[in-house]
Symmetry: C2
Subunit: 249 residues, 2 copies
């Protein structure tokens, strides 16, 4: 399959095997939409489909829910895919590599970039995937959970995998960037330091001439390290000037 | 505060501001326990506390729920912390840096390693944190959501932040490792290639002598690239031998 043939193939499919609760399907769908995934596949969901609970918890991710595909078997659900990973919360007695969600996302990205279709299998709420289902996958995915509390909700596992996919597919770009203001130059900082020091001098802040150099250096350090921007330096200089005027009143 | 003074301080606190639904508190607590966080703080939760819905959805993360601390204001909830980040789904009109969850986790790790206590603020389900609350934080955190569907569930945002914290604090270690078998040597692979080729020779697989080199090379490539381990190579050689015996019957 050629690269970019359809938007639907440009991200991994999420395949939920025998999901028990509509809420989990809905939450998984919502996380998929949050992180740019769209192809949801359900293998023998326990409750009738369409499922109003799934729709409600999807919280607006209707497209993912409406487009979800139903399958009778895991084999059928992955038949058109080129690269399949299986999530697991425990070690399996198979010769399969185990990736974290970040490496899993990178591997899927590589396969998709080469024109393939990738998918990630998620098992049942209570007991995951059967060994025979795990054996259908090229490799395994697990999350770095605390072994003292390793029971991960299925939708939350989807959140993490989808999030890592998004990081890979957008090269870590965030949806908006900071406005950290106009960067200050060192001359701006120097102006602030000089202004502050002169004001403190007039206020009698430095007790003796021999203590002055180290106290002045400390002030310079804290004012430099803070990383104020140009606007903030103007604000601070205005504040210093205002305090001085107050003293003179 | 000295490093390692208490396990409770060794990971960031999660602070939920005016959470509306007990389910979200419970799901957040579960994710915290999954990823090794324990200090949950609640600022003016809408429903009475303790909240049975929170306990139910925490799904066994009782310690986090039972130990959750209640506060009347965001200021009070962070008073003992040294480094506070505020999550936001939208750009704010402030001069604050914005980190992804991975960078946020690294920054918290740096502060904690230096003996400080860190915390991450999460806003209300519907409208997040107020500007005055955001201004209490050293910097902002946001997630790389698809702008077409940016509405992230609060507990799912906690999942991602907690997961990134776990990655940082365990250096990406997974809870168990793969058993990929005894690595095969190139001599093992060579034995398989030779065995296979000889068997195919006897079976008349190679149509002409001039096609033989490229066909043999293709076989060698696919058998080498597959990355079989020593056990798998023995299994395959057994399978080839079995097929040959079958032909001789």
């Amino acid at each position: 399959m050629a690269r970019g043939q359809g938007e639907m193939n440009a991200a991994p499919s999420i395949i939920l095997v025998e999901p028990q609760m509509g809420e989990n399907i809905g939450m998984a769908a919502r996380a998929m939409a949050n992180f740019g995934l769209s192809d949801l596949r359900l293998v023998r969901p326990h409750q009738a489909w369409p499922n109003p609970r799934a729709k409600a918890t999807a919280s607006g991710a209707d497209q993912v829910i409406d487009d979800a595909k139903l399958f009778d078997s895991v084999e059928a659900s992955i038949a058109d895919l080129n690269y399949v990973l299986a999530t697991t919360a425990r070690r399996r007695d198979t010769f399969q590599e185990i990736f974290g969600a970040d490496e899993a996302a990178r591997r899927c990205g590589t396969k998709i970039a080469a024109g393939g279709k990738a998918g990630i299998l998620f098992g049942r709420e209570r007991w995951g995937l059967q060994n025979e289902e795990v054996a259908l996958a090229q490799a395994l995915v697990t999350l770095p959970v605390d072994p003292r509390f390793a029971s991960l909700n299925i939708a939350q596992a989807v959140v993490v995998v989808a999030y890592e996919w998004r990081k890979v597919s957008t090269l870590g770009a965030l949806p908006f960037s900071a406005d950290t203001g106009t960067p200050a130059t060192h001359a701006d900082v120097e102006g602030l330091v000089g202004h502050f020091e002169a004001a403190l001098d007039r206020a009698g802040f430095f007790p003796t001439e021999d203590k002055r150099p180290s106290m002045a250096r400390n002030l310079r350090t804290l004012l430099t390290r803070a990383g104020f921007n140009a606007q903030e330096i103007r604000t601070l200089r205005g504040a210093i000037a205002s305090l001085e005027r107050k003293r003179e009143d």
